[in-house]
Homo-oligomer: 418 residues x 2
């Protein structure tokens, strides 16, 4: 059967076709019947492609062909991906995708349409590239109350931070190296400001807690303000700085109508004893804490042509195996603006770096202000510089203290601890 269509022949699309065709024999065996890609939809021409005979320009060709059971949407962005996905699902064709932006913004709705039409909307590739995380979270860990998910969800920023830590590069040089190597886009905003990681933590949080979390509900800060000084202090104190997306329930963590969540993307000081601190370069890792399982971690390449294709093809196979049956991934839509709590109400410890001519004299006043405080050192610390880690307290309390402190010192940097 020629029952699969791939929409979008970019990096992930061409990887999907390549991997599917390479392993087609074993895939057909796993599905239990012969399977193949019938159409590749792209507006561009690829006359030299070995798959030129399968290229079509009009999505309606796919939609109107009853032989097509599964559509792999690997276009990215909201439109036309959203319209294509909706139309395919309404025809009872399953859709699989790597499109985190679409899932993070329209997931609840598209899952609902899939259920109503006895087909599936699967998106293993939307978080962590090829790393299995959606299905493990939804199935293997289903017996747990999920206490926290924290992840290094963006390879570009992790590459930049690794270069800053390991080779003392500054941010700008590390970014431009990432661009040279093809790890960062020309316009790197979505990566370095944390928007990409934000979409992914929204998807994981929606799945873990059963209600849609929208990207615009999540406080998000990137890595462009991380200075060499911060890296040095973190290193000396036994931490690595990583861009972390995290989500956890606020309150007792049990299912209930009054449940709220905390969701945030920001750089964090991660203890060297935490496995996440050991994740380097373009690799991603997601740590999940459950009340049964304790901590589990999933690690691998979070992006790239074939790793992402691996997840897309895995989902295609699952859809082909479950033709006409919805596999029951779902969450409720949610427009409660208070579901994601204000990050300032959440407790955290904070690393703070300040400059002041009176630094030495300020030390005891700062200690008194925060209670039990830990000052940390770096090699060749200038006399007008201080760095410390606050006790765990709400951010609004920390903010209030720093507002007072700002009368006698410049607040140079503040980074949450994980």
């Amino acid at each position: 059967m020629k029952n699969v269509a791939v929409i979008g022949y970019g990096v992930v699309g061409s990887g999907t076709v390549e991997l599917f065709e390479k392993n087609r024999e074993s895939i057909s065996k796993k599905v239990g019947r012969d399977c193949d890609i019938k159409y590749i939809v792209d507006l561009r021409d690829f006359p030299d492609s070995p798959f030129a005979d399968r290229m079509v320009k009009d999505f309606n060709t796919v939609l109107e062909d009853d032989e097509i059971e599964v559509v792999a949407e690997v276009i990215g962005g909201i439109e036309p991906a959203y319209t294509f996905t909706k139309k395919a699902l309404e025809k009872g064709k399953s859709v699989v995708t790597s499109n985190k932006e679409l899932v993070a913004n329209k997931g609840a709705q598209l899952l609902d349409i899939a259920h109503k039409h006895n087909c599936n909307y699967l998106f293993e590739a939307s978080v962590g590239g090829g790393i299995p995380i959606i299905r493990p979270l939804n199935k293997c860990l289903a017996g747990n109350s999920i206490e926290q998910i924290s992840g290094i969800l963006n390879g570009t920023t992790n590459f930049i931070l690794t270069k800053m830590i390991r080779e003392q590069m500054d941010f700008e040089s590390a970014l431009s190296l990432a661009q040279q190597l093809g790890y960062a886009e020309k316009d790197p905003t979505a990566d370095i400001e944390g928007h990409d990681a934000c979409r992914k933590i929204c998807i994981l949080g929606s799945l873990a807690y059963g209600k849609h979390i929208y990207p615009n509900q999540v406080h998000c800060s990137g890595i462009s303000h991380i200075a060499a000084e911060d890296i040095a202090y973190a290193e000396s104190a036994g931490y690595a700085i990583k861009l972390i997306g995290s989500v956890k329930p606020v309150g007792d963590g049990r299912v209930g109508d009054n449940e709220k969540v905390s969701a945030i993307v920001c750089p964090r000081l991660v203890s060297k004893r935490n496995m996440l601190s050991t994740v380097e370069g373009v690799y991603n890792a997601i740590s999940v804490t459950g009340d049964g399982v304790g901590d589990v971690m999933f690690y691998g390449q979070g992006a790239g042509k074939l790793p992402t294709a691996s997840a897309v093809v895995g989902d295609i196979i699952d859809c082909l195996k479950h033709k006409g049956r919805s596999v029951m991934i779902s969450w409720e839509d949610n427009h409660d603006e208070n579901y994601v709590v204000d990050h300032r109400t959440v407790e955290t410890a904070m690393y703070v770096r300040i400059n002041s001519e009176d630094a030495a004299a300020l030390k005891s006043a700062i200690s008194e202000m925060f209670g039990k405080l830990t000052y940390i050192e770096r090699p060749n610390r200038p006399k007008n510089e201080l760095a410390f880690i606050t006790p765990t307290m709400t951010e609004s309390e920390i903010d209030a203290n720093l507002a007072i402190l700002s009368h006698s010192a410049d607040i140079m940097s503040r980074i949450r601890l994980l």
Copy 2:
């Protein structure tokens, strides 16, 4: 519905009941209908248990109750687990298990019975405790040809090795500490000789390559002969010594009738650049290499009451959601004695430590014997001791060389590299 029975109220069984009851409300929501544990089967009496009213002694009570859809077999061992499992499946009741011994020895047969009766035999808990690995390997990575699986599959031995590496304990002291802490059994043979890890790599290999691998087909060596000297050499040369179960296809790695596999459990020198080297204490980790995904790693607590229960309960939920539908995990039975190749025909690099009065004089002869050789050092190396790492070659070639060398030196230790 009271539709679940737990067979065996030991560590995993009581954890399963505890976790299921704690999260029963959210579990019922995930399944889409009310679910509960009706029976706990154990020959012992537990009069003080809060679940005393659900305790029964006769498995037939479960078998003959049509309300029971899922049986969690957490007895361990082959019998009576095998008979109970077979009977339940033949009645169309799904069975989930943590019983690695049973899956490794009877998996193909029990999966076949499950399919014939439109029910499921799931065993996520049999490998890596709560770490999701069976479902990710079977589903998420289904689009890949699996090039290799290597895992730290036994927490007890990893705890012992960690103590030997981090605190310079000798093997006997580390083992006895593990016993004191409850990590090792009174009779620790199954752990330290690698039999437990062997069952787990058989399960992973059967799943990845589609044919049953039996424990008695797999070369298996444990950690009791690892000496402090070996740890010291490995450390100096940038390796950690870990007990690794591994399986890979021999040949081109594609599905085919002539496919064979290499499967082996043994201590290995693992490069510090490999994430597996960073896994410490009782934690487990499994690294999977696929032609699409590259390397992915799954990490967490590989044993223990609630972590293992997490996987059992996840499987119970999956069975309840798929009542009357087989989820198509399967592999062929296989009695080809040559399917798992003789480990001596497989290429590896080998760490070797020798003693000889003529050590210094032997160096050049040994180099010539092996071709390009790397001598490694340790602090305070005695003059009569040498340690080296061979080039990658078949084990039979290495054996032949060491046989010659044994005329002029004592071969004290030989450990494969990963």
